[in-house]
Amino acid sequence: MPASQNKIIVVENLVKKFGNFIANDHLSFDVSKGEIFGFLGANGAGKTTAMKILCGLSHPTSGKVTVAGYDIYTQTEKIKRSIGYMSQKFSLYEDLTVYENFRFYGGIYGLSRSEIHSQTEILLSQLDLSDYKNRVIKTLPLGWKQKLAFSVAIIHKPAIVFLDEPTGGVDPITRRQFWDLIYKNAYQGLTVFITTHYMDEAEYCNRLSIMVDGKIKALDTPAALKNRFGCATMQEVFLELARN
């Protein structure tokens, strides 16, 4: 890896325009290895656009971006191998079993049969769901699907996992369990890049960036942000920023 050993995502002056509309206006930030990085913003603030660029789903108009040490313009293929992605719809195949989902996603990342097998065992036992290996996804409760979707996204042991509003429609207890899962994996060195609407969740992140109208308005630890704006909760910080 080049230059900054510790910086796993480096973004400098990222600009994305759709015609005249500027979705991302000179974004600059970096994410360290093993960090849980929260990406907040109202709907339409440009966070999905930025995340798509980082995942290689969209091309930036200008700016310098490296993900996992690879350049976003020239080394997209290598980036794709080092990242995992979980969409807000939990993106599992409902008519396949738990194991078949793991096998499929492992397969498209080029894992061997034995690798898929051992990874599935590890990930399922981590979730205490080993007994449900052969259950069809659609018979499982939403909270389980969410955790499984996360596990599937990291089956190929990526350096970074992108979570796009991963906790939508899930009850607070399940959400709490999901964050336990995130912490456990971050502790093992996984970098987590997460977008969310829930301000209580924002508090769980190591660092946060808050986007308003295509720009990053604030970027710091939750505690520092609350301090700076003199607010008791992230909710208030967010409203304070959105108002201006």
Binding site: L57, Y85, S87, L96, F104, Y105, G107
Partner: protein
Amino acid sequence: MKAFIKKELFHIFRDYRTMLILFGMPVVQVLIFGYAITNEIKDAKVAILDQSGDVLSSRFVSKLTASGYFEVDRTLDHPSQIEPAFREGRVKQVIVIPSGFGTDFGLQKQVTIQILGDASDPNTANMLKTYTMAILNDFQMQELGKQSLPVDVKVEPLMFYNPELKGVYMFVPGTMAIILMLVSAMMTSISIAREKELGTMEVLLVSPLRPWQIIIGKVIPYVALSFINALLILSLGWFVFGVPIIGSKGFLLIEVLLFIIMSLSLGIFISTISPTQQVAMLLSMFALMLPTILLSGFIFPVENMPTVLQWLSNLMPSRWFIIIVRDIMLKGSGIAYLWKETMIIFGMTLFFIGLSIVNFKLRLD
């Protein structure tokens, strides 16, 4: 890629309804079209009002029934019975033989036979009339042939390729076009739209798989299934209805494969413009199925359509495919005769693939 194809097959085989549609439909359609909706005449019910009642008239009636096209439902005694007979609905045609038929015929006088048809179904009435007249002509030749006539002009129509005018022959290419279109285009467009709807498409695009690999992986199972379907239809036609394949079977299968690929690219194109499964389904139904059935010349001959519709039917891939299949199967034509139709389908394939790529790029940008 292998994982992909396997997964796609799981999807298909685990969904019993899809399976039923995939393999039940071709069988049912071929059988329905083959048996029920054929436009050939067989055992049509006729009534005879024989006012002559001589040897010759009964010879004529028995010739009529021996043809296999007609079945004498009843004999009438009086003209007033004609209307009620039609009203009942069973009798499709009444043949009135005038009194003195045999004697007049023998004297070579002018003889008139009246054919009354039930024109509430004009097609059938017309066809029955034609058949009756043909039989009558034949009968006349036969009877007069025993005596010598100074001048004798005979018209001998000869139907090539399908001498018995069997309807089934046309239905095999037609059904094949519909089924392949349905399976290939509709199923692929729905299954790709489903990935979009479930959000799995995003995940696939983030993965190291390239877009073309995703598409190929999704499409290969459907190519295989469509091909099996085509074979199923051909063998049903062969074994159940005795439809021959005169031309090269290899060439026929290559053309079938080309048409399948065309339908798939159309299906991919539909999926690029439809956000959900429902939209994909509706688009395929209305944009593909109905025109395929109505405009391809399968049910209504293209030559009989208004000019505007004839132009439109040129845009129907199935129209060209039906011509190709029919010509190979019934005429034994080869590439020398069918290169134009083949090129048209090939061109359409490239066109839809191109459109899909453009659409796909636009979305990624």
